[in-house]
């Protein structure tokens, strides 16, 4: 439930502060907070997004085969995840199974997307929060300590002290910052080899891909991949050193961005030996995915059954600018297995925009509130930016077993082969003690190694098909007059689902649910805050600055650890008897009084 709102001017000593728009994320996000500077804690947080485009509205009545081209445009950094997810949903609706090689090519493209996106976000967007310039300005004491602290893995990454790592992350002039930009380019080249262009793919279709599979295609990919493998052998230890240092330098830092373990992962990277895209077999082929789907609550795996995951999805309103669809037509009453489908499930959703003024007492965002119903509660799952949920779910399920990646039931073991200048290297991601900002960031780095290792496996499988002469990558299909489909994958930032209903050969309903609606969601109809709100509200303040030159770095680290993909904002209140209006009227003042 939402905590009781502290009133501005009630002597609670809160300072209202907002960050809107937040930079170094994708899209426009505002975080509005009230901060208790006496207790050094964030008391309240409201997450708001100020852009509405209306995909579910304008897709109605269109040809279903256009869906992946259109939905790709939902996101400019992970649009290919949408195209892929849409193609999965269309494959189900049309009853088509692509050739194996087509699936390996999509897996290679999507792996490159992970490698690109996590790299650029981690080093060029999040990394700046941990760079010399930022740390000097927010925690001079930590900077002093960083200069005295030897990096434990200096031998692996070449930076002698933690301060050297921080300096290398300085925007534009930092050596590692610049190297990462280059890495983001050749990983996008890898992506373009498989999916044509970035970020909106040109060669993806229902039924497979248009990519011409040749020895050259795989050689061009593999040579770049091995450069990335070598890069990861430096980057994983580098980030371990950097993040471990923060725990050491700022005791208690594990509380920053911490929330209850409520993680969702919808699974990614299909195994063509098992995936036939039928709803009937979805539970089975879902468990064969190379990232295992799962819902993890308080450290326990609730389920890794994709059918159960699907049926539990609910879209709540409460604080968002939409009219409810209660009483409107229900498109899907039962799934193809005969299970009842809830009216609040995306298959049955109607999107009815209701633009209005922002009011933090009532409606304040264009984001809805997706929740997962476990039979008793509507859980505000988060993805932790994606990687932490993927690794956690995969580790606990213990189902992934490939030459380069193995899930053990409590960890994920990643084996990278010898590369030009570095020997074979093993990394093991262990389930962390907390779901917090630093562990979300650490998981991002480990998942980069995971994606690279998996890509080695996919490239070997694909090349085997080519060498055997099985170069078909696309399969014919017909669009039925009436059908439904759903697609599940892991976008870079986490859970992604597409639900489609076809009537008279046209799209009757289409609802994509990317990770950010889960993470950036607002207080729902039960008053439960969304994950950013929840995580920021729990965040202690370690920044050394006073309210006058406060940057809110701990809040920004919290928000960015989720790898947001839209607009958010924060407002805060400072100590004293009366609420100080340091800043603009945010609409938060007057809340609750």
């Amino acid at each position: 439930m939402a905590p009781k709102t502290k009133a501005a001017g009630d002597g609670s000593g809160l300072t209202e502060m907002s960050w809107d728009p937040i930079t170094r994320i994708v899209g426009s996000l505002g975080i509005h907070t009230k901060i208790d500077f006496k207790q050094k804690r964030v008391a309240e947080c409201y997450s708001t997004s100020s852009v509405f485009r209306g995909y579910s509205v304008f897709m109605r009545g269109k040809d279903p085969r256009d869906a992946h081209f259109i939905t790709s445009r939902i996101c400019g950094i992970c649009g290919d995840n949408h195209a892929t997810c849409s193609v999965y949903a269309q494959n189900m609706a049309y009853g088509v199974k692509p050739p194996h090689l087509g699936e390996w090519i999509i897996n290679l493209g999507e792996s490159a997307e992970y490698m690109f996106d996590h790299n650029i976000f981690q080093e060029n967007l999040v990394g700046v929060d941990y760079c010399e310039k930022m740390v000097r300005e927010t925690n001079p004491g930590v900077w002093e300590q960083a200069q005295r602290t030897e990096a434990p893995h200096a031998g692996d990454h070449g930076y002698r002290t933690i301060a050297d790592i921080m300096t290398a992350l300085n925007p534009i002039e930092g050596e590692f910052y610049r190297e990462a930009l280059q890495v983001s380019r050749y990983t996008r080249e890898m992506f373009c080899l498989m999916e044509g262009r970035h970020v909106h793919p040109s060669t993806l279709y229902p039924g497979g891909v248009g990519t011409v599979a040749s020895v050259q295609l795989f050689t061009d990919y593999l040579t770049r991949l091995m450069r990335y493998v070598e890069f990861m052998k430096r980057v994983v230890p580098l980030h371990d050193d950097l993040f471990d240092f923060f725990y050491e330098a700022l005791p208690g830092y594990e509380e920053v961005g911490r929330r209850r373990v409520l993680l969702g992962c919808w699974g990614a990277l299909n195994d063509p030996d098992h995936c036939d895209f039928t709803y009937r077999n979805m539970t089975d082929w879902g468990r064969k995915m190379f990232v295992t789907p799962g819902i993890v609550v308080d450290g326990e795996l609730l389920t890794n059954d994709l059918t159960q995951i699907n049926l539990g999805i609910r879209i709540l309103l409460g604080s968002s600018y939409y009219d409810d669809w209660e009483g409107q037509e229900q498109f899907v009453s039962h799934d193809p297995l005969g299970n009842p489908v809830d009216p609040r499930h995306p298959w049955n959703q109607h999107t009815i925009p209701a633009p209005q003024k922002r009011d933090f007492n009532d409606k304040y965002s264009w984001v809805m509130s997706p929740r997962w119903f476990d039979g008793k509660e509507h859980l505000a799952l988060d993805t932790g930016g994606g990687p932490i949920a993927r690794l956690w779910s995969t580790a606990l399920s213990g189902l992934v077993d490939t030459p380069y990646v193995k899930a053990t039931g409590r960890s994920v073991v990643i084996d990278l082969p010898r590369s030009m200048t570095k020997p074979e290297t093993r990394f093991e991601w262990q389930i962390p003690k907390w779901s917090n900002a630093l562990e979300r960031n650490r998981a991002r780095t480990y998942f980069q190694a995971y994606a690279a290792a998996m890509a080695l496996h996919f490239a070997e499988q694909g090349l085997e098909e080519v060498r055997a002469g099985r170069t078909q990558t696309w399969e014919k299909f017909e669009v039925p007059d009436e059908s439904i489909g759903c697609g599940f994958t892991e976008a870079v930032r986490g859970v992604l689902s597409h639900h489609m209903v076809i009537r008279d050969g046209k799209i009757a309903n289409y609802h994509p649910y990317p990770p950010t609606p889960w993470n950036a969601s607002t207080r729902d109809s039960y008053g439960t805050p969304g994950p950013y709100e929840d995580a920021v509200q729990n965040t202690p303040i370690f920044e050394e600055n006073t309210p006058d030159n406060f940057k809110g770095i701990d809040i920004m680290r919290t928000v960015r650890s989720f790898d947001p993909c839209l607009p958010c904002g924060v407002h805060m209140y400072v100590g004293g008897k009366s609420v100080q209006k340091m800043h603009v009227p945010t609409g938060l003042s007057g809340l609750g009084g």
């Binding site: 502060m17 960050w19 809107d20 728009p21 930079t23 170094r24 994708v26 899209g27 426009s28 505002g30 100020s50 852009v51 509405f52 209306g54 304008f58 269109k62 040809d63 085969r65 081209f69 445009r73 996101c75 400019g76 950094i77 649009g79 650029i120 060029n124 925007p171 534009i172 002039e173 610049r178 983001s184 380019r185 373009c192 080899l193 044509g196 262009r197 970035h198 970020v199 793919p201 040109s202 060669t203 279709y205 497979g208 891909v209 248009g210 600018y321 003024k357 922002r358 078909q472 990558t473 006058d548 030159n549 406060f550 940057k551 809110g552 904002g569 924060v570 800043h583 009227p585 945010t586």
Partner: protein, 363 residues
């Protein structure tokens, strides 16, 4: 990129208070909060000719100093009205404290007039009301003070995907909003760089051109009637597509994985102005029809409605395809004969004691 290495491109005040002898920078104010996916911002980070770090550090000869205020990678991050506020740069622009600046708009412009209240898209908050400032209002506040207004991506240029039939927001491009004849105070028309997303180097190149123009090193940027840079958008996809040879020979793909011409499968390349197949997507790699992806015409003002359903054959292609299929068959047969001839070496390349190349040997 408020954290570029020099103080001129730094984030706190130095930029608009040039010290003596210091060249003041050209500011770039970037609004990504149209109806947008940020795909054009992301795409620009893939550019290598030139790269963003080369632009930010003026690494090409003659480029002026720049201070780019770009949400995607900006160092500045608030809080609002604090010491380190990103949005403050836009208020400075409005107050005339940044001169010159180039205004970049990403995303289409919704029609905020069609509803009783609220906003379709906003960028920062209005200190007076606490409500978001709409993107169209920012254009009203800033456009007339800008050296140039640049629309990045097909949404900002022509409306794009978010202006599709049936959309709820009444979205349009920047020229629809400001007027197609609009010119800046420096007499520069709106510069449109379409693409969904932009091809990375296309935008990097256009921005570089404008920076050269701003310091008097280049003449007025040449634009066509749809306000596109002519050197980038003067040719069609088909004219630069390496599968056009198959078209001429009447070899048309019937499956999406075939290496021949994909016109019958939905490729609109023959009538679309775009340089992607010619230039590759990035670093010469990738593309659209050249690598098996039908051209859905994402650079065009008519996109997407005039090209849907994307996977159907363009109606206009039927006639020419039929003609090419007939004529192409003859051409292919004749070429086949020639190809067999040229596929064999001349007969004087051989071992043995006789030289038969035609050289009269003096020995």
């Amino acid at each position: 990129m408020g954290a570029a290495p020099t103080t001129e491109t730094g984030s706190r005040g130095a930029a608009d208070a040039p010290s003596a002898g210091d060249e003041s920078p050209i500011h770039v104010l970037w609004i990504n909060a149209g109806l947008s996916c940020d795909g054009d911002s992301v795409s620009l980070t893939a550019a290598s000719q030139p790269s963003i770090e080369e632009i930010a550090t003026s690494a090409l000869p003659g480029l002026p100093k720049v201070a780019i205020h770009w949400p995607l990678i900006d160092f500045d991050s608030g809080p609002v009205q604090g010491a380190d506020t990103f949005i403050e740069w836009f208020f400075k622009g409005e107050r005339g404290e940044l001169d010159p600046f180039v205004l970049v708009i990403e995303g289409s412009i919704p029609n905020e007039a069609i509803k009783p209240e609220g906003y379709w898209c906003g960028f920062g908050d209005d200190p007076e009301t606490g409500q978001p400032i709409t993107t169209s209002e920012w254009i009203d506040r800033l456009a007339d003070k800008a050296l140039a207004v640049v629309a990045i991506g097909t949404c900002a240029t022509y409306g794009g995907i978010h202006a599709m039939a049936g959309n709820p927001t009444g979205a349009m491009g920047v020229p629809d909003y400001l007027g197609w004849d609009w010119t800046s105070k420096a007499d520069i028309p709106i510069v449109c760089v379409p693409g969904c997303p932009i091809k990375p180097d296309n935008f990097a190149e256009t921005l570089t051109y404008l920076l050269y123009q701003a310091v008097g090193a280049a003449p007025m940027i040449p634009l066509d009637d749809q306000l596109r840079p002519t050197w980038l958008f003067g040719s069609t996809v088909h004219e630069g597509c390496d599968r056009a040879g198959f078209y001429e020979q009447g070899q048309f793909a019937t499956t999406y994985d075939a290496p021949t011409c994909s016109v019958k499968l939905g490729c609109w390349g023959p009538v679309v102005k775009c340089n992607v197949p010619k230039r590759g997507w990035m670093n010469g790699i990738g593309g659209c029809p050249n690598v098996g992806g039908i051209c859905i015409a994402c650079t065009m003002p008519g996109f997407p409605d005039k090209f849907m359903p994307f996977m159907d054959e363009p109606p206009g292609a039927k006639v020419s395809v039929t003609a090419s299929a007939t004529y192409g068959k003859v051409i292919r047969r004749l070429r086949g004969i020639t190809a067999r001839t040229v596929d064999h070496e001349p007969k004087w390349r051989h071992r043995g004691e006789q030289l038969t190349s035609g050289y009269p040997s003096p020995w």
